[in-house]
Subunit: 383 residues, 2 copies
């Protein structure tokens, strides 16, 4: 049995003060259903990816919430794995079809981050880390990724100007994406001159706090044929220790390596077969680690590729054509789903101004916390 | 392919001030693994059911948390559907095996309710309801279930003394269960004389705020044979509107009816085949609705059965031999898993003082919110 993505959509990402979590989830869902040319009543199940609705909307039970909004009463599950919730929800949704339970299921990822019941967004986001061993000592994710960046720079001779290349590239890509949170082009100097958050990471090394939603409709390929059909041909999901301190290495995320290995094995492909990728650039250093963990570049070599613009629009392996988390925005529960939506739009020739040339196989890489969860999907426009 | 429960365990339920969420989850998990006679490294995946760790422990990302605690790096998912999280996690876990992805998976449900970051437990629990249409207007679950109780009493001539019979029965059963939150036997007069919470519901009509965890190991039956093996032969999951106000009927929960229909259909059984059941008695009225929604009794007739003690220990259809949510306790994420553990212990002859006679088929009924999610499982000790 194979799984197809038969519909996909994203809302605008950004500071969407006039939209609630349920507005965003409903909007993305209805657009994805329209794209799939099916009605809510055609769905067998719903998977809702969200991390922090308890903190932002005083609302749990989101599966039922969305089923109610769509006027249906199907099996509905909220999946949570911090910022990897979206990728993991797609994994579970695909499984529900592979099990034989269902034929068509909706996956929506949505996060409303600009309304907040908790003290600060940073505090709420630290629930993705280890409360006993990280957040209770005052660690933040900018701080944790700064440790990673510092060690990577020391080990491989990279500079903060190299890290900045990720932000510059992803802002450029985002300028081509009408749904992106940021549409402004920035320079390396802009990044370097932006305020320091956690040395060596500056303000423009960090992804923003965004509202937004994304949705896909998955189906058993046997039952569906439509013109935009894209196939989910491999998936992997793995974990690492919740706290960074317990890991043998900071400059590689083992969960991402495991998840990629599973996905490549299932797809019977290697990293060389991938034409485009959406990776989890919550901070600039994270994209550099992803390039190596996924096997696109040897350890310590990604920076050279960034300098040569190999991963920019028009390069040999475009990464984060959506703008990534940095440029497109990072509504955490939505991110993993948005990555798949972007790959689907690219592989089906619907990416407009940012359309990659000749891309037939794409990969998504979605991380929770500082790598405690990783989910990788591989998609293709033919099988 | 069939699914077996090859290991199961519960922690003590109650006010466990010296145990954290991770302590409880680890304890239940290790006991269930020991019961299954396997090591953490034998597991292919983890499913963690929890509703309110954001509010109680400033911690999300619980799949990775538990994987870390067990020293493994497998695919790990938190499943949330309010108080139905446990039942739904088992549903998703079974699916992961049926899909062919995995052979052995761990499901743990855990909730630490006596530590609280939010204002009150009642506020945090209202995230199971509809924030825009219920909690923002001041509704609580005691209030919502009181509306249901009031209407049921009016429609079928039941009294508050009839409702109290549920609490009396479940406290008696809990007195036989060493892991129960409450071990005290109570009378109808005790219930009636306890303080009014939301008319007609008194203090002793309500399930308590408890800490606790429960875990099961599920496996593809083809790979396993052990002496306590119990089979999961049918499951169903459905939703209803998130807010009570949108429903055509208050005296029946349609999601439970749908979920039961699916589970009975999959198991090729009828309500008459069930020997024991664990149902979601968050309030006494909820057990009465369950008895009817599951098809055990016609609408409006459950109270007669309660008066005749048909659902008491030794009766023809014992319900909530664990003590139910009322007597055993209700750590919300743990409840749906604990229900399955109880049925497994009963069907494999391990229920000690509260062992049912000749029970070969059992059912669990797990509800989220005021019925916005319902999950039903049917288990048997032979296939």
């Amino acid at each position: 049995m194979t799984i197809s993505v038969i519909g996909s959509a994203v809302t605008k990402f950004g500071e969407l003060w006039n939209k609630s979590l349920r507005d965003l989830a409903r909007e993305a869902s209805l657009m994805a259903l329209q794209d799939a040319n099916i009605a809510p009543t055609d769905l067998d199940a719903i998977f809702f990816a969200n991390m922090m609705a308890s903190n932002t909307s005083a609302q749990a039970h989101l599966g039922s919430l969305l089923a109610s909004e769509l006027g249906i009463n199907v099996d509905s599950t909220r999946v949570e794995a911090a910022c990897a919730s979206g990728g993991l929800a797609i994994y579970r949704a695909a499984e529900s079809i592979l099990s034989g339970h269902y034929k068509k299921v909706l996956v929506v990822g949505a996060e409303k981050m600009t309304d907040l019941v908790a003290d600060t967004t940073t505090t709420a986001l630290m629930e993705a880390g280890d409360e006993e061993w990280e957040s209770s000592f005052g660690a933040t994710f900018a701080g944790l990724y700064a440790l990673i960046a510092r060690l990577y720079m020391h080990k491989y001779g990279a500079t903060d100007r190299d890290l900045a290349l990720v932000a510059v590239k992803n802002h450029y890509h985002a300028s081509l994406n009408p749904n992106a949170h940021f549409r402004n082009i920035i320079s390396v100097d802009d990044v370097i001159q932006s305020s320091l958050v956690a040395s060596p990471l500056k303000h423009l090394d960090c992804s923003p706090v965004s509202d937004g939603a994304a949705a896909v409709v998955l189906a058993n390929s046997a039952y569906i044929k439509n013109k935009h059909q894209v196939y989910l041909i491999g998936s992997g999901s793995a974990t690492d220790t919740l706290s960074l301190a317990q890991r043998p290495s900071f400059t590689s995320i083992s969960s991402a390596k495991f998840a990629a290995k599973q996905a490549f094995s299932q797809a019977k492909l290697t990293p060389h077969d991938i034409g485009i990728a959406e990776v989890h650039d919550c901070f600039t250093i994270a994209e550099i680690l992803a390039m190596e963990d996924l096997g696109f570049y040897p350890e310590g070599q990604s920076v050279k590729a960034l300098r040569k613009k190999e991963t920019s629009f028009g390069g040999k392996l475009p990464i984060n054509l959506s703008g990534g988390l940095k440029g497109c925005g990072h509504p955490v529960g939505a991110t993993g789903v948005k990555q798949v939506v972007e790959i689907v739009k690219q592989l089906s020739g619907q990416a407009d101004e940012r359309q990659a040339n000749n891309a037939n196989i794409g990969l998504t890489h979605n991380i929770g916390g500082s790598g405690a969860t990783a989910v990788v999907h591989i998609l293709a426009n033919k099988i």
